[in-house]
Amino acid sequence: MTFFGHTLKAGLRALAALTALAAAPAMAQAPTQATGTLDAIRARGTLICGVNTGLAGFAQPNSQGVWTGFDVEYCRALAVAIFNDASKVRYVPTTAQVRFTALQSGEVDVLFRNTTWTLSRDTSLGLDFPAINFYDGQGFMVKRSANVASARDLDGATICVQPGTTTEQNLADWARGARIRFTPVVIERLEDNIAAYLAGRCDAYTTDISGLAATRAAQSQPNDHVILPEVISKEPLGPLVRHGDQRFADLVRWVHFGLITAEEFEVTAANVVQLSTTDTRPDVQRLLGRTSELGQMLGVDNRWMVNIIRTTGNYGEIFTRHLTPIGLQRGPNALWSTPGGLQYAPPFR
């Protein structure tokens, strides 16, 4: 009966060893301001990318557990720019609540998680928005059988909304302005929100129009649902990086601009390798690193855009691959040269 004494001692010793074992890989050394995010990523050998926990079209794991989607392509593009290897990304699913903490604490390097750029977020979180990769706005979706033509008809309705987002505050603001009374149903997780709307718990479901379209397209009878014409807010969605590391912010920003510029000059995944040697347009030659040293200015390989486009395609291709299937139009996300388009990249020179 005296073995417990030994066990206690042996156990404690072993636990100390186990703790060390567990903590070693888990304590990823986060970059400090001094060393810079890019160097830390290089030293680590992988990019850590914060994504949504599961939003159709933007970021979701498929049946094999592989992350896919619009935001995921941006993570891959960034990894290609740094390592020329799209697989060197670790995806950290983040909820709406922990996303900012995760980035602030260095748990992730960058957040591609359809986050709305607002003044207070830009100034009070210690974070920066390098670009806007998706222009969105908040809207409402109702069932066709409800015979609602406009959001103004929603007086007295029950509305499903995700808490802790700008969506929730926009809804309250809008209802006050439009003198509409409504009953909110606030559910933390996106899929539960959608399930509640589909089950008829709510008369209307409100979120970014991209989200509405994704949900609508997923239904077996999309025509049973109507997205109302009113857009009650501006939702510029973009990546986030930590404030104070301009070098890394520049890289994230110009990866986005590179994808836009590639679409502008019709550089695609299929023709990029060929164009990188044959194209005579000076803009394309600079973009693809044949002339000038734009890549090196950003601290990456000069052929970074060739590698990116070869892997992910240009902005239009990414959009078509992930967002067109869920029923989204280009709308404001078309290139600036198309009427109504807002996607515009500063010149590559």
Partner: protein, 400 residues
């Protein structure tokens, strides 16, 4: 007076050893260990606090309680006090606390009733009844509560819409918008009557204590219920009548998208309540069963041999003994219901966790948000513990 004659040897206390600064002195070791442990803890806390302060500064995260006065802007579906998104965070959080209490108190009452019934059913002589009760307890206790809540919520969402609502009797509607019951338009007189009932209840309690004390003196049983009914029912009615006897029925009716009027029990509240009650009743049933079984059958037989009526046996002999076994574990179940009500956040019932969570998300003040949640639960837990300990000491065996 015996002091003077007592043998002085018996008055002597243990000799006071002088404290030696040596490792072999137990007291020195005790002080050393305590100083060491407290020192390490203080060092850790100090380290954490300095880190936090530095991090808050670097990340420019605001601190302090000023945000409580700011406009909340968050819509809340169920509120027992007046609330609109233009109110401040403090009021929103108060609404959350009240919502937590609403589900916890109702849950405790219902779970006690259901748990007791199932506990008794497990001891039933009918094989089918005891078997079903046994399976119920086993299944309910072996599934995570969160899974059960999600399941109930999915089921409740499957009810028909408001236009096809199930309407068993006039004025009662069951749909995926919840359960609607006819109610009255609440006025000051009703609140006053409710308070009067509460006062009546306390007075009845005191009266019965008084009468029992008298019974102890002369052995004469006294009737309590006539005075009790007068105090608990008569008093409030009189108060209500004096204040003008307002009575306007408020019957729910379908208008536009939703029902208007009546008493609403939302699917979120309903799912949370059903989930908490069924889950906890599984545990309470086991406690009740063990409590009843702990009373020796000889007690029943002896009481019957004395010629006591079965009702008296149950009330005066068996229940007091069973309660001593039942009450302590029951306290922890009541605490569990209260704490588990925080799972509301997963199914969209806006309790204190849900609202504090949204608050900390909007303001970015995580420390204050978590502190609020913890403070609220600690005070609720403490109140329940104090009440149950008081009750437990009241029914405990008085050893002589």
């Amino acid at each position: 007076m015996s002091d003077a004659t007592a043998d002085p040897r018996f008055k002597r206390t243990a000799p006071k050893r002088p404290m030696k600064l040596s490792w072999s002195d137990e007291r020195v070791r005790a002080i050393f260990w305590q100083v060491l442990v407290v020192g390490i803890l203080v060092a850790i806390v100090w380290w954490l606090v300095t880190n936090t302060q530095r991090n808050l500064e670097i990340r420019r995260i605001a601190t302090g309680w000023g945000f409580l006065q700011r406009e909340a802007g968050l819509p809340i579906a169920e509120h027992m006090i007046d609330y609109s998104p233009t109110d401040n965070y403090l009021r929103a959080l108060m609404v959350g606390v009240l919502n937590t209490l609403k589900v916890a108190i109702v849950g405790i009452i219902l779970a006690t009733i259901l748990g007791t019934l199932i506990g008794i059913a497990r001891l039933s002589k009918n094989w089918l009844v005891s078997k079903i009760a046994g399976i119920y307890v086993e299944v309910i206790r072996d599934l995570p509560l969160l899974l059960q809540l999600l399941f109930w919520y999915t089921i409740l969402q499957g009810l028909p819409g408001p236009r096809q609502a199930i309407n068993p009797i006039d004025g009662v509607f069951l749909s995926n918008r919840g359960l609607l019951l006819p109610w009255i338009q609440w006025e000051g007189a009703h609140t006053a009557a409710l308070l009067a009932a509460l006062v009546g209840f306390v007075l009845t309690w005191m009266y019965s204590d008084l009468m029992r004390a008298k019974q102890m003196e002369d052995g004469q049983p006294r009737r309590i219920w006539p005075i009790g009914i007068l105090l608990i029912i008569g008093g409030p009615i009189a108060v209500w009548a004096l204040l003008g006897a307002p009575f306007t029925p408020d019957v729910p009716a379908l208008r536009g998208f939703n029902f208007r009027g009546g008493l609403v029990m939302s699917p979120e509240y309903f799912a949370l309540l059903v989930g908490l009650v069924t889950y906890t009743s599984g545990f309470i049933a086991e406690i009740v069963r063990a409590g009843i079984q702990s009373v020796h059958s000889g007690q029943w037989e002896a009481a019957q041999a004395l010629g006591l009526k079965p009702g008296v046996v149950l009330k005066q002999i068996v229940l007091p003994q069973a309660l001593r076994v039942i009450v302590p574990p029951m306290t922890s179940q009541y605490l569990n219901i209260t704490k588990n009500s925080s799972l509301a956040v997963a199914i969209g019932y806006q309790d204190i966790v849900s609202i504090a969570n949204t608050t900390l998300n909007q303001t970015g003040q995580a420390i204050e948000g978590i502190a609020i949640i913890m403070a609220v639960y600690l005070s609720i837990s403490l109140s329940i513990s104090l009440f149950m300990n008081w009750y437990n000491s009241k029914i405990a065996l008085v050893e002589r």
